[in-house]
């Protein structure tokens, strides 16, 4: 969680909102609605989407073709949100998402980004030495697997579609979703089956 905002920052925020309102760029109602959408969003929505894509070929096809439509089908409010792109991990390719310019993150889907995602350390190191960063998360990517760092710089927000781990055959969508974490949807971790390695 982010540190609580300071009084100085809250005062600045009030002034910014007042200035934007005075220019007719935003209304209080719009800000409240946007906060409510982000408050409702949660990595659990992304986890359900991945679990469904693992088990439903039609949903998988929708997810790869039109991420926003797939997110809305899973209950996310994507109105006004940027495009959602989905990066599919394969046996030969692992994706890791970072925003080196700021902190672009699929908020409408996953909620607020974790503090580390916004840190200078993650933003500068993920793009430059991804294997070292992943190793610190305990995530080992085989040497013969390409790590593709995805720098989220413009009009898409990106979510990783991890590979379904072995040992999950016959699992329900709910049980599958329970092993898909926020970190796996960013690419710093992999879904793990309890008891395996």
């Amino acid at each position: 969680m982010a540190a609580p905002p300071s009084g100085v920052n809250l005062a600045l925020l009030d002034k910014l909102v007042a200035a934007l309102s005075a220019k007719g760029l935003v209304t209080e109602a719009e800000i409240t609605e946007r906060q409510a959408i982000t408050d409702r969003a949660s990595p659990e929505i992304g986890a359900r989407m991945v679990a469904r894509a693992w088990t439903d070929p039609d949903y998988y096809a929708l997810l790869m073709r039109d991420g926003k439509a797939a997110a809305e089908a899973a209950g996310a409010s994507m109105a006004g949100a940027p495009e959602l792109g989905v990066l599919e991990n394969t046996p030969s390719q692992h994706h890791l998402v970072v925003c080196t310019l700021c902190s672009c993150y699929p908020r409408a889907l996953l909620g607020y980004p974790p503090g580390w995602y916004k840190s200078f350390a993650y933003r500068s190191r993920a793009v430059r030495e991804p294997r070292a960063v992943l190793a610190e998360w305990g995530t080992q990517i085989p040497d013969d697997m390409e790590i593709r760092v995805v720098d989220s710089t413009a009009d898409y927000r990106w979510m990783v579609l991890p590979m379904r781990p072995a040992g999950t055959e016959g699992w329900s969508v709910e049980k599958l979703a329970s092993i898909i974490t926020r970190d796996a949807l960013v690419g710093v971790a992999l879904p793990r089956v309890a008891g395996s390695d």
Partner: protein
């Protein structure tokens, strides 16, 4: 993907070799650019066009913002970052006006 298109076709197709312009607008005055410094002047390969979007360089200054084609462009990890491992890659969203044929 459902990105809005403006009707103009993307200039670069998947697989096209491109070079990111070696341009530094921040040295000329206030600007807002989405092209990271570490790929400027570097060679990459177009992965796919992503659709056309209002140019953020204009949006940031509340100017009329014509749509520009956006691409996913792939770079080899070294030589962009020599800390990285050969075979690893970096994929970046880059607008068409930052790309030249290579």
């Amino acid at each position: 993907m459902s990105a809005a298109h403006d009707g103009s076709a993307p200039r670069f197709a998947p697989g096209a070799q491109v070079r990111v312009k070696d341009d530094w607008p921040e040295t000329r005055g206030p600007c807002h650019i989405r092209t990271p410094y570490y790929v400027r002047g570097r060679l990459g390969q177009v992965v796919r066009p992503l659709g056309a979007f209002p140019n953020p360089e204009d949006l940031a200054f509340a100017r009329a913002a014509p749509r520009r084609q956006l691409y996913h462009v792939l770079f080899d990890q070294p030589p962009i970052w020599n800390d990285g491992k050969a075979g690893d890659t970096v994929m970046v969203e880059i607008f068409e006006h930052w790309l030249e044929e290579a």
